[in-house]
Structure formats: C-alpha cells, structure tokens
Symmetry: C2
Subunit: 470 residues, 2 copies
C-alpha cells in the first residue's frame, strides 16, 4: 500500500485503503437515511446521545475514553472522490438521485455541536458520555465511527483502572498488542490503558503516535536462539547495560538466576512469565539479595488480570512491576459494552421535540441531558442525569462540556498525561465499594425531576395508543 | 489527518499516523532483540510457527483467516524516516549503536519464506496456521502484526461459521461495526465474517475495500425523527422501492405492520430488532400473508448469537434472515485466542537446530512442521502434525503451502469469495460432533512419529540438567 520511488525519494500511498477512521467507516443504513433526508430536503437537526445501557457485571464504573480520537475523526470526516464513486455503485443505493453523490456528499463536513465528558471521567450506566447535535444526516453518518472509537477505549481504560488499582502503586505495563483485534486496536488499547492508569506500553506505534512511555524486555526466543542461556543474558546486558531486563523462565528460572549471578551479571530486572509467580518471585528475590543484587527488580507477566495482580500484592510477593496483556488489550472479561447512540431530540424551525424509543427492553430517555456529580468531603456521592434546562443538585459539577461548536473545536485538546492524572484522582474519589474488584456495588445515579416528568408524559402518550392486537 | 488544499484540489496526508499495520506495530522487545542480533552480526535464520495453544471451550474448531492481510503487511513492511527518528529517541534503545538506525533499519524488508494454511481451512489446537523462516530480526519484528491480524480474523471467522451454520441457509448479515474494537477492527471483522459464511455486511468501508455485499435497513431514529411512523415508512419506500426494508419495532411492531399494510406499502422486508422474535415473527407473518404480502420477508436482529439463531430455526419461526452484531465483530464469547508465534528451529551455516521452550505450562514443540488432514468418504477424520521431513499418513493432504519465498509471493492471492466457498465445504466435511454448538467434541489430532521422538529427546536433554534448588 506504500510505494517508494527511489528516484524522487517520495512515498506514494493508496491512501483510501489506509484511513483508519475514514468516512466510509459506517453502516450502510446511515447512507440510506442520509439519502432520504437529502431527498426530502429535510433540514432538521437531531441530538444523539452516546451512553452505555448497563455496566458489565464485573464493572462498578467505567472510565470515559476515546474522546480525542473521536474528535479527530469528526474533524477530518469527509468523502473523497473514490469513496463517492464506490457509493454510487452500491446496489442498495440504486434509487438515490445523482445529486446526493454529485453535490451533497462532496461538500459534506461535520458541522455539529458536541458535548462530552472529559477523558478519564468515571461514568455509569445511562449517563451520556457524548452528545452530538447536527443535521440528522451528519449525526447519523458518524454514529458507527463514534461508537466503536469511544466504546472500545472506554472498555480498556475501565479495565486498566482496575488493574492499576490492584497493583497498588507498582507500575503496570500494557503489552497485549498481539492479542488485540488487529494492529489499530492494539494502538488504541495501549492509549486507553495508559489513560486508565498503566505506566507504559510495549506497543511502539502507540509510543510513536502518542509519545507514551515504552517498555520492553526480551523474548524467550532470544534465549532459545543462543547456544546457552548465560551467553544470551550477557550479550543482552552488554548492549542495554543498566536497562537490561532478562527473561529467566525459558527453561528453569532458579537455574537461570543462579547462572546469571555466577556470571557476574547485574540486570536492572528479571522477568518471570510462567509458573507459580508468588513462590518463584520469593525464591528469585532471596537469591538476588544473597548476591547483593538488591536493586535488581522482579517483573512478572503471564495471563495476569486484576484478580491475579491483587492476589500477588496481598500475599506480599516481592514483585516490582506487572506486565498485563490480553486482559487489557481486549478487555477480555467484558469485550464489548452495551453502548448505544440514540436520537433524543429533533429541532426544526426553532422548535425542539424530545423523543423516546419504546422498543421492548431497548427504551431510551428523551431530551438533551447533562450529568451532575455531587461530591462531599472529596468523595463522589451521587450523580444526577437531567435535562439540560435543569440545574442539578446544589454544588454538583456538570460533567458534560462543549468540545465542538459547528464542527470546530472549542476546548483545547487535553494531553493524555493530564487525562491520566485526572482519571487517577477521579477514580480515587469513588466509594470504595464501587471500586472493589469483586461484586462491585452500584453507584447512586438519580434522574432529574424534569426528565422524570418528561419520560412519564411521553410514555403515556405513546402507550396510550391501543394497539390493534388480537 | 487528511488536509485538503482547495487550490490544488489535492489531499495531503500525515501518513505516518495512518498506516494501519505499519512496521512500528510491534512490541518494543522485538527492537531490543533485533538490535542485539545486528550488533552481534548474527546472520542466523529462525523458523517461527503461529498456532493456538487451546481452543476456547465454545469452539470445536477454528477457521484460519487473516492470511491475505498478513501477507500485505509483510509485503509493505518497512521503516520510514520519521519512524526511525522516533526509534532513535526511545530511551530503552539508548545503548544501540547508530548503525542500527542509519544503515540497518532503512534497508530492512521482509525477505523471509512463509508457509500457511489457506484462509477458510478448519484448524485445531497446536496446528501451525503460519510458518515463517527469516533472519531472526525480521521474523521477530513482524511477530506482533502477524499475531494480531491472523488471530483476530480467525476468531471472527470461526464464530461466523457457527452462526452461519445455525442459520441453516438463511442469510446472515454482519453488522457489529459499532461494537468492534475501533473502526479498523470493524472492517477486519466484516471481512472475516464473510469468510466464515456470512452473506453480507453493513460496514461500508469493508464493502469498499473488499467488494463484499453490503446490506442495510433503516434505524429507529428514521422513524422517531418523523411525525408519524407510516410517513417515515412511505418516504423510505418511495426512495428505495423494491429494496426497502422497514424497521417496525420502534414503538409496537404489530401496530406498525397493520399501519403499513393499511397504507398500501409493499416493502421487500421488515425488520424486528427487539422483543420475543419467535412470537412476533409469527404474528407479523400472519398479517403480511393475510394482506397478500407473501413476498415481504422478515429479518430479525437484536443481540443474536448462534444459540438464539439455532433456537429460532428449530422452532420454525418464519424468519428469512438474521442480522448479527457484537457476537461476530468481537467474537464475544471468545474475544481472544491463546495464539502464539514461537521459535521452533534456527539455521546457521546450513545446520538446522530444532528448539523447544520448557516453561511451565507454556511448552512448545520443536522443528518445522506440516499438518496433514486425512479424509475418508468425503469426511475429515483426523489430522497429523509432524516434522516437514515426515510424509504424513497415506492419502492425507498437507495443509500448509508455501505462500512467500524470500519476501515475494509465490502463490496468487485467493479471492475472499473463493476462500468463503472453500470454508463452507471444509466445515461441512468435519464430523458433526465437532461442529455442534454445545460442548463440541475434540477432533483427533495425532503427532507424527519423528516429531514425537524429537520432543522426547529434547525434553530429556534439557530436563536432564539438575537444577540447583535448595
């Protein structure tokens, strides 16, 4: 996909195949509807809210993430000529008039307003993380891209907050790229893991793109490819000196530790990737200490998650850092969130109409909403979800802020490290029972009085229709 | 990330941030090791095999997928100047000599040999899907990209084969992009879902990139944004005519069906997305038939998976097609595979040395391997994994074929539709008990005699060392 021309020293790209979040990253029905609005000359604007219906059973809270990439997606969102030509050829769009492809799509940009919770904010079921007001077509066409970007990063950041909390101050390195859902998901997972509290990632592309700390050791293959384990260690330490981390469990970790000590090596750390990490870390620690290698740290990895990390911390195993892979990069215990993006209001000629969907098990709450968080003595005690015209409980902080106006950013991008710090603080403010790893308690989320009245009114109006069922 | 210059009508790209599978999509330790091999002047080649250690409990078989994207990744794999500059700045690589960045990385290309199972081949635990022979550095640096590409698509294709099987001939449309792990994962999932047996996807980018059939209906918001349901239906049908699919469960599906019939509409299909799909589909079918709308199909969706699809098929609910989302796009019941890429042999000066890792619970089997599949009467009856020098059982087919030689493709790319057909055939050949949805049986996989002897010899040699443990 990248063609290098030696003569000109330029790279040429088949770029349409490379855009990670191009405007075609959407569902076909968004186009059928957009065409419908275009044909009808419909100029109404709609407000859509992105929220999670229910928390996974293993989560007491989620951590909002993915906003910055989502805003980048909106800012660069447009249809390129080749993409439009393709759309013209889609059989399901055969009935759509040419003006949709010739005039409408080429000029289309995202010109909506966006309100959002800052990345790193703890969020609960039913609370909008993101609210988009735009023409119905614009708002719909960006739906799939927004959902997949925000939900995935929110999944991973939420898991990372649990894992980092379990590690109780010991650094956690994310290194699950190989099990992520493709190379792009690996980068997004690394970003979200840092946001949720990890200290570093092994994913080099993520380091490049987001300037986040990179960490790495050696693979077992480095040892296997060498004639013997000690020469493999020595060659590595000669090159990386005080930074060398040696993986000691290719054959037998205790044998490897002794051999390493006998050879006079002084690595920064050793890594255990298999076996009984509690017992092995104590044995290895004792041998390192006996050899005066008290500053050589012990890192562990191997199918870890927050529960295994917490158990190792609780047993006071002499472990200085954790490497966590699949649990983070796929949010393995909750690989998807029941996140949706729902129309809550339309606006036509200055008149706003709140809307709700009544589908069985899939109801939505009408109207543009805000979320207020009430704190007492530095602790978050409850949230309220209400209509934007409500004022929220006295002293409570509104969590949704305007980030885009008419397609332009109105709030400066927040750095990943600032969001990470904000996340650590905000998670610490949550009640301990909501943060606990096993059977977390529900955090109280109330409904504003005006929203409550609106829900009641609209449910009655709609269900007042007597269906003609036999 | 895309900048459009009105004057020149050209698009400019910040391309380094867009490559979905650029050469930096790897783990940092691959670079520390590559630097180590460079410094040592090590010219040895290594053979790595990509395989899944254990099948998820819900899978009787996997479907190999992701090979074509993986080969594209290898073919375009190179380090661009900005990427190399970044690597130079990584603190963990501080000890690496300048020649690694100045001379070695810029000229590096993947020049290895690759053997692989064709996409769509059923595969079992311990069987290599992919075998790479290259310099140790090349083989290592591509590890993470190969694993994440192949494992994810294999997960999804495997789930899709189950879902498509459960649908027993009714078409299944993949539309899980919104819950996928980002926009790129959504496209990969759509591709793999088609490969595994789905008929279409809603993901437009996937349609664009792979020319696979696109399908779409309308969202509930189309109905909600309209003053009333019937006008929403009418506007849609006027535009899409015989292709119109109306979503009828925004408020009440039976009321909607009656209103649609009363209005004289004749959609191609209606979609039910909530409620008791079995009962509702019968009620709606009866009303459609009574109105002579016998050719209007009923499509259903809403948190479906292979079990719900199978139950609806078994109960003979009058359903003509299924839409499946999250279950496919995240392989939700098995969101990751225990897939690894392990060094099995090194080759230096013409001498091959088979290798195995003995880490507790993470052993590997040594030597370059082939997988043979034995068929009897059109049924696959057993596989054998053996060393390449073995011949396999009489009449058995070797599954791994050479696809790249010295970095160049030697086998023409296989079209997605050809791979999909091959998959359908090969899955049908599997024993019924291996294919069943609940508690699938193990498929017999034997170890070749020579491989068995090699494993025994190497285990004894290594474990023959008496560890100096107190």
């Amino acid at each position: 996909m990248i063609h290098y021309h030696r003569a000109t020293r330029h790279y040429r790209f088949d770029f349409l195949h490379m855009a990670p979040a191009g405007a075609l990253s959407t569902d076909l029905y968004e186009f059928t509807m957009a065409a419908g609005y275009h044909v009808a000359g419909d100029t109404a604007r709609g407000t859509f809210e992105l929220f999670v219906r229910e928390l996974p059973p293993t989560r007491g809270y989620l951590v909002a993430a993915g906003l910055e990439p989502a805003l980048e997606f909106l800012a660069s969102w447009r249809f390129l000529p080749d993409q439009i030509d393709f759309l013209r050829s889609v059989p399901a769009l055969a009935g759509v008039p040419g003006s949709f492809f010739d005039e409408y799509l080429p000029q289309l940009r995202f010109r909506g307003d966006v309100w959002a919770m800052p990345e790193g904010t703890p969020v609960f079921a039913g609370e909008p993380l993101l609210r988009v007001t735009a023409t119905l077509a614009e708002a719909q066409l960006v739906e799939t891209g927004l959902l997949s970007t925000v939900l995935f990063q929110t999944s991973v950041a939420s898991r990372a907050a649990r894992v980092a909390g379990a590690a109780a101050g010991r650094p956690v390195t994310e290194f699950g790229g190989r099990r992520a859902h493709g190379t792009d998901a690996a980068v997004a997972a690394a970003r979200a893991a840092i946001l949720g509290g990890c200290a570093a990632t092994s994913n080099v592309e993520a380091g490049f793109r987001y300037r986040i700390p990179l960490a790495g050791t050696m693979a077992h293959s480095w040892v296997m490819a060498s004639t013997d384990e000690v020469s493999a260690f020595r060659r590595y330490e000669e090159l990386f000196g005080e930074q060398a981390v040696l993986v000691i469990d290719t054959y037998d970790p205790v044998v490897a530790t002794d051999a390493m000590i006998a050879a006079g090596l002084k690595p920064a750390a050793v890594r255990l990737d298999s076996g009984d990490l509690d017992t092995l870390s104590r044995t290895v620690r004792a041998r390192l200490d006996a050899a005066s290698l008290t500053s050589t740290r012990i890192l562990v990895s191997g199918d870890l998650d927050e529960h295994r990390v917490a158990a190792l911390v609780a047993s006071r195993a002499p472990i200085d850092g954790f490497g966590v892979g699949t649990a983070l990069s796929t949010s393995s215990d909750a690989p998807s969130l029941s996140g949706v993006y729902k129309l809550v209001e339309t606006e036509q000629d200055g008149v706003s109409t709140p809307l709700m969907k009544l589908s069985e098990g899939k109801r939505t709450e009408p109207g543009r909403k805000q979320v207020w968080r009430l704190r007492e003595g530095g602790r978050a005690v409850s949230d309220t979800v209400g209509l934007i015209r409500e004022s929220g409980p006295a002293g409570a902080e509104p969590l949704l802020r305007q980030v885009m106006s008419r397609g332009e950013r109105v709030l400066a991008p927040v750095s990943l490290s600032a969001s990470r710090s904000a996340c650590l603080t905000a998670v610490t403010e949550l009640p301990a029972e909501v943060r606990r790893l096993e059977a977390p308690a529900d955090y109280p989320v109330a409904r504003g009085a005006a929203l409550g009245r609106l829900v009641e009114r609209l449910s009655t109006e709609r269900t007042g229709v007597t269906p003609d069922v036999e």
